[in-house]
């Protein structure tokens, strides 16, 4: 038996980009599982605000841009005061892309990299520093994408950032020596939101090549995120693809 104690289930989880889509589904699911949840996004949607109103003792939300590091730091301090020390992080906030690389402006390239790669690395650093500094253990789940592993036109910078987060997941798991479990979940294309960047021909092609016969739904991803945050497993440094075997 190893001397390293197991990492306990997360009890206070911070979710970036938690106001809609998969992020909102993750927040809702974690609440149902009894977890305290802090969520931020550029805009707090009525759905997220309603969750906060319904669970005032277990939810803290804020309108914070993930690229605004001082605002993110202030939000984390608020969360710790209201809900207790953060021992779980879901890096979900991201911006999409729908443009050929040659015709994507340099400003847009910088924005995609800043939002999807730099910001989650900074948020992770912030949260890990607080966990380690307080002698706590915890878990991190990075929401990446099948784009990190397979090529799709119009998503060059987006794919690069998601691949970067997959790579960071592995290295961080090594670096943190088992005190934190760090994993990634890589969904296939959702029927909504990010899939708007693909043409109907591409989407039809993906569906035809998917053995399960349908695009991934957020409801099919949240149990995996919950498992990584809550269940006792020895999964660490992995990227779990949820795409109905479309990419296999």
């Amino acid at each position: 038996m190893s001397d390293t104690p197991v990492v306990p289930p997360s009890t206070v989880v911070l979710v970036s980009g938690g106001s809609r889509g998969l992020g909102l589904a993750i927040v809702t699911d974690l609440l149902a599982a009894g977890t305290k949840v802090a969520a931020f996004a550029r805009t707090v949607t009525p759905e997220l605000a309603q969750l906060a109103a319904e669970h005032p003792d277990r939810v803290h939300v804020g309108a914070v841009d993930v690229t605004d590091l001082p605002a993110v730091q202030a939000f984390v301090r608020e969360v710790e005061q209201r809900l207790g020390p953060v021992d779980g992080l879901v890096n979900n906030a991201a911006v999409g892309q729908d443009s050929m690389h040659t015709h994507t402006s340099t400003a847009d390239l910088a924005r995609i990299v800043e939002t999807n790669l730099t910001a989650p690395l900074q948020l992770t650093r912030l949260v890990v520093r607080r966990m380690l500094g307080q002698g706590r253990r915890g878990r991190i789940v990075n929401v990446t994408s099948i784009c990190a592993q397979r090529g799709f036109p119009g998503l060059v910078a987006y794919s690069a950032t998601k691949g970067g987060m997959d790579a960071a997941t592995r290295s961080l798991a090594r670096e943190l020596g088992g005190r934190l479990l760090v994993n990634a979940v890589a969904p296939g294309f959702f029927a909504s939101e990010m899939s708007a960047v693909l043409g109907s021909t591409q989407l039809d092609q993906i569906v035809r090549r998917t053995p399960t016969g349908h695009l991934t739904e957020p409801a099919e991803v949240v149990p995996v995120v919950r498992m990584l945050l809550r269940e006792q497993t020895n999964i660490n440094g992995q990227v779990i693809v949820v795409d109905g075997a479309a990419s296999v």
Binding site: S99, M100, H103, T104, S105, P153, G154
Partner: protein, 83 residues
């Protein structure tokens, strides 16, 4: 340099096709699929326009997906230069 006219862009489009051994029809209503003008050809044309004007032409894919005819290509690039 000033923006290119529709006719000048048409000439460049003809060059892109000529490099592939294809001819640009006179009819602006010609479907791009008939002449095998694909998204990368559009990209090449846009870059040629950039070379002439010295201004980057950046755009998202949805606008590109609405382009179906030779005239759509020319209209798109004329409009894009003014943005």
């Amino acid at each position: 340099m000033d923006e290119l006219s529709r006719a000048q862009i048409r000439d460049l489009m003809a060059q892109v096709l000529a490099n592939q051994g294809k001819a640009l029809p006179d009819d602006d209503g010609t479907d791009l699929r008939e002449i095998g003008f694909r998204s990368l050809d559009f990209s090449e044309l846009a870059l040629r326009v950039e070379d002439e004007t010295g201004e980057e032409l950046n755009f998202d894919a949805p606008g590109l997906r609405r382009i179906a005819t030779v005239g759509d290509v020319l209209d798109f690039l004329v409009t894009l230069q003014r943005q």
